[in-house]
């Protein structure tokens, strides 16, 4: 395999508080290759967005990267100064946020926002930047891009606005795009349009995409590989067919079972008892053990095994299906 575009190694994000150090992301490792879409799923508070923000260097203080390394195309980027990071942000890493209204400046026409980004990163002339902006809008499927380039964000519908945000993320031709819940605020039919657009751009440009979402259906249809997060740790990582079709981690299994899609025809939905623990009150051992139906004494004492490489599937002492499948888990 060629060198991955993004490589995250043992990433720990920590927040110092009066009650001690909290770790919203704790020892997460994964790679994303060229042209690959990695889906990151989990419930709110599992640390999915935090992981994305750490990669692009958008952690809000006091949150900070405690340990671990992040490599982008072989260059380490987690220890860069703010000034150096600016060259990467936007140019090499594009970001698409959940809410298309708040991620655009309401006071500037969309054309100005696009040309600003293009000139900042590519250093081209005004007219060239303008042409590129039109081409970028054209590519994401905005009709009559030439005329609409002077429009303000409020003149677009939600779906069109999200297309503008995607154009903005892609206009400097980044090698990695982080899409944080890009379709959560949109209707089903518009969601299908945006997902198809992301997939097409990923294929045509060979970008690596990190797709953060809580919608299993979107993941199943879009991602090549899935990372399931629970309480700041990776619970399971693997090809989408295998993780969704035959989950190994009891949490993934419960999560898939609780979607109404999976319980077709059944009167009651499968439910995972309890709630995700708060960060300050993580149980000892595996964080999932109080809710896990297969808990054994070992789970309560030893912290769950960490996924060391990208071959390991589930971070569980007793993964489902094949008990001997502990390859890659240390």
């Amino acid at each position: 395999m060629t060198e991955p575009v993004l490589s995250v190694r043992d990433l720990v994000v920590e927040i110092p508080t009066r009650h001690g150090l909290l770790k919203p992301v704790d020892g997460v490792s994964y790679d994303i290759a060229r042209g690959e879409i990695l889906g990151v799923v989990g419930e709110s508070g599992a640390g999915k967005s935090m992981t994305g923000n750490a990669v692009i260097g958008l952690l809000d203080r006091p949150a900070r990267i405690g340990e671990g390394e992040i490599y982008l195309n072989g260059t380490r980027i987690d220890n860069l100064s703010l000034h150096e990071l600016r060259r990467y942000r936007g140019k090499q890493i594009g970001m698409v946020f959940q809410d298309p209204l708040t991620s655009l400046n309401p006071l500037l026409p969309i054309g100005d926002q696009l040309t600003e980004t293009i000139q900042e990163h590519l250093g081209v002339s005004n007219s060239e930047a303008h042409n590129r902006a039109v081409a970028a809008l054209d590519e994401v499927g905005i009709p009559a891009a030439k005329e609409r380039i002077g429009s303000y964000p409020h003149e677009f519908s939600g779906g069109m606005r999200q297309r503008v945000v995607i154009a903005l993320a892609l206009c400097a031709e980044p090698s990695l795009v982080i899409a944080d819940e890009p379709t959560t605020a949109l209707d089903v039919s518009v969601q299908a349009q945006i997902i198809a657009l992301l997939k097409r751009l990923c294929r045509e440009r060979g970008m690596a995409v990190m797709l953060v979402t809580h919608d299993m259906g979107v993941i199943a249809e879009t991602a090549d590989r899935v990372a399931v997060m629970y309480a700041g740790k990776l619970a399971e990582l693997g090809p989408v067919r295998e993780v969704i079709g035959a989950p190994r981690h009891p949490y993934t299994d419960g999560l898939m079972g609780s979607t109404p899609l999976a319980s077709k025809g059944k009167k009651r939905l499968h439910q995972i008892p309890g709630n995700m623990p708060r960060l300050g009150q993580l149980p000892t051992g595996c964080a999932f053990h109080p809710r896990c139906p297969y808990t054994q004494p070992k789970c309560k004492e030893d912290p769950g095994p960490r996924l060391k490489t990208c071959d390991g599937r589930a971070a569980c002492w007793f993964p489902l299906d094949e008990p001997q499948a502990t390859k890659g888990v240390a």
């Binding site: 419930e43 089903v188 039919s189 518009v190 198809a196 919608d215 259906g217 109404p260 439910q271 995972i272």
Partner: protein
């Protein structure tokens, strides 16, 4: 089975004109937005009727008109045979009103942060003048929380627990009908499963009737006994879940089902639907869906199809039952 809610030709028009002075100075006409037009359906006792549609389809407006938070512009809502808008007998109004409750989408915004949970839950019963002794404790246990939670404040609970508190509050006045407006949209899947299971259990044990409003087809499929699909304020199809998901008749329903992501759709290439919901202030002539419809014929842009009975469903389409794909 007895019909508990009967909605006839319900229409709601909102005035979205600019202020009076602007209209005079800029010589603008009044602008009307028809959020709901000519919707009729019935809900039978102890069933779940679901309204599904994209944003702007008028599903929440219908919910609000049924509970009486908004007056209809035209048409009638009858609950247990009583039209609350025209009924004059105060006792009847009171009796019917206490039979209706509502659960809202956002459990963070729908609980007063300065009230204790016990007071929040008892409020509907207090308003009815009922006995509230031990009521909050009993309800909290019924929705899966602990009786000692009555003294806590809403901020001490997670989203799913808050939605349980909302359910407990809705049960306090012993209603027959609960209108649920996107009750699980703000929740995670595992929490959503807990709340949906709770709602099904309560329906069976209290004999409740739900009007379930959601944009999530999978949740609707799981919960509903009868589904109404809305597009731009009009009911385009109404059927039982098995029929609607098995053989969708209306091209809009077909498009919606096709576009919804599937858990087993690995690498599925969806041909995404064209266009977006049109502007409700200037809706298209004829069938509102015709500019996006793959089956549209000339007639669709001139004439509006009426809701007609087709096998087990009601469909508003000239080419109902045909498939584009």
């Amino acid at each position: 089975m007895a019909v508990i809610v009967s909605v006839k030709n319900l229409t709601r028009v909102f005035d979205v004109s600019k202020p009076w002075l602007n209209r005079v100075l800029e010589r603008l006409p009044k602008r009307k937005l028809t959020a709901v037009s000519d919707v009729s359906f019935e809900i039978e006792e102890n069933t779940v009727y679901a309204l599904v549609g994209e944003s702007g389809s008028g599903k929440s407006t219908i919910g609000k008109m049924i509970v009486g938070l908004l007056p209809p512009s035209e048409g009638t809502v009858e609950i247990e045979g009583v039209n609350l808008a025209t009924e004059t007998d105060a006792d009847t109004i009171e009796r019917v009103r206490s039979d209706i409750q509502m659960i809202f989408q956002d459990p963070y915004a729908s609980l007063n942060p300065r009230w204790k949970v016990g007071d929040i839950i008892e409020e509907p019963a207090v308003a009815n003048g009922d006995d509230t002794d031990g009521l909050a404790e009993k309800l909290l246990e019924q929705v899966g929380l602990s009786a000692s939670d009555v003294r806590k404040f809403p901020h001490e609970f997670s989203g799913g627990q808050r939605q349980r508190i909302c359910v407990a509050r809705a049960l306090a006045s012993e209603p027959n009908l609960i209108v649920c407006d996107e009750p699980t949209s703000a929740l995670d899947v595992s929490v959503q499963a807990q709340v949906l299971n709770l709602m099904s259990d309560l329906k069976d044990s209290f004999g409740l009737t739900y009007l379930f409003i959601s944009h999530d087809l999978t949740v609707i499929q799981h919960m509903a006994d009868r589904i109404g699909v809305l597009y731009l304020g009009r009911l385009v199809e109404e059927a039982a879940p098995a029929d609607l998901f098995g053989v969708p008749q209306h091209p809009y329903t077909q498009m919606l089902l096709e576009a919804a992501p599937r858990m087993d759709g690995f690498g599925r290439e969806v041909e995404p639907p064209e266009g977006e919901i049109p502007d409700p202030i200037n809706p298209p002539t004829g069938c509102a869906f015709h500019p996006r419809c793959p089956l549209a014929i000339d007639r669709c842009s001139k004439e509006r199809p009426q809701l007609e009975v087709k096998s087990n469903a009601r469909v508003a389409c000239f080419r109902a039952g045909e498939r584009a794909i």
